[in-house]
Symmetry: C2
Subunit: 241 residues, 2 copies
Amino acid sequence: MDESARLMTVLRPVRAGNAFEETVERLLQAIKLGVVPPGDKLPPERELAARLGISRVTLREAIRALSDAGYLDVRRGRYGGAFVTYAPPQPDAGDLRQAVAEMGSDDLSDALTFRLAVECGAAQVLASSELTEEQRAVLLRRLEEVNGAAIEDYRRLDTAFHLSIAELTGSTLLATTCADARSRVGDLLNAIPMLQVNLDHTAVQHRAIVDAILSGDPDAARRAVTEHLEATAALLRAFLS
Amino acid sequence: MDESARLMTVLRPVRAGNAFEETVERLLQAIKLGVVPPGDKLPPERELAARLGISRVTLREAIRALSDAGYLDVRRGRYGGAFVTYAPPQPDAGDLRQAVAEMGSDDLSDALTFRLAVECGAAQVLASSELTEEQRAVLLRRLEEVNGAAIEDYRRLDTAFHLSIAELTGSTLLATTCADARSRVGDLLNAIPMLQVNLDHTAVQHRAIVDAILSGDPDAARRAVTEHLEATAALLRAFLS
DNA sequence: CCTCAATGGTCTAAGACTAGCCCAATCGGT
DNA sequence: ACCGATTGGGCTAGTCTTAGACCATTGAGG
């Protein structure tokens, strides 16, 4: 709260780990967020290394680690590549408890608060801006996609819907921050069983968010997102107790 | 907007530069945000290097660069250290135009949008939570401090006020994100002349933000922060044209 | 079948970064 | 006047990371 807290905030570690570790985290993020869906492959090593700003050697170490861990299937030759084999695990309360234990109770509440703040902020900004027809179409399409999703695609399309809100603001910083916030709670969300009741509620909440944004009502958007994320957090806590 | 945009978002560079460059940025952030006020010194090299997770050699290179650039005065011996000599430059429209040209028009609007989203999110979260007496006291004290600030301390205390909102949510992630957002527009804000009229308006807006938070009204908090930041952005644009 | 383009696999030399150690300067206290 | 604690200054050996070149494998298309 006081000045020394701010020192801790700003003078925090410059790097979260070595290049290898950070690369593994980033690739894992792409996989778990479904940015590269199961069956698709990562970009070629040379291109990917350039995008990530690291050497091919380091990238290959990270890919090797993920391959060993079962997230990727690497194939040589033309039309080869690093194919995503990861499928979201079956929801399990045990996994959830373990995941929470790993990240710590404080970090969990931090991550949930963070996600609430940035997603509300994004929705509010988007609701305040003049939307083009194309933007409206994208938002509606994402909504339909998640509503009509098969169970195995549901998490991925839900993520896509949420991230689209931030992306549509046109702010790269906001988009990356929302992606980061989402990936921090991704493993936990995956551990929640997908009951039809919950999916129905979620569909209603998603619809409310889109309606608020499309009608240009930032306060309503804020409330809709808050309600949706609080409901999700409540589900999490319910499965923890 | 489509899938490939999300690839760009997630598979962005893992590192913004080498350890030296990132360290310079971080120290500059601490200095410009006023986390270490002019006249104070940075923590001892050994301690600071440990906090930043880098070697002393790299830290010393960064300190050397900032010393050469006139931000720090390094003194040896007991009670020595790296003393902050930086004082915010006199506001100047020329500086502003130059700063904007350096960061690019797109990046500027990105940074402003980003800041709006995260600060609104933080204020809304804080307004939604049960505040202790101590938290209320901190918020009110910060408000009084910025209102009663001498001109040379104004920017720093204004920053302190804004960051306190995020810090009081208890979310470290949110606090660091708000600090990051603020530092992205810091140089621009510094270039805006501080006219008494603007300071008066700012004081009213700050008061409205605090009132909304203390009365537990997230929508009002959102609106108050939006109004304040939009007014600041409007001032920026006015001095640009 | 052969060829070729795309892609992963491997090696090497150079540079970046680190950990740990010791030196040098400064200042308060005895 | 000295001592000791604190702090910046500097060196070295070793590890991490990179850039770039070259090799190996695969599969489509002629």
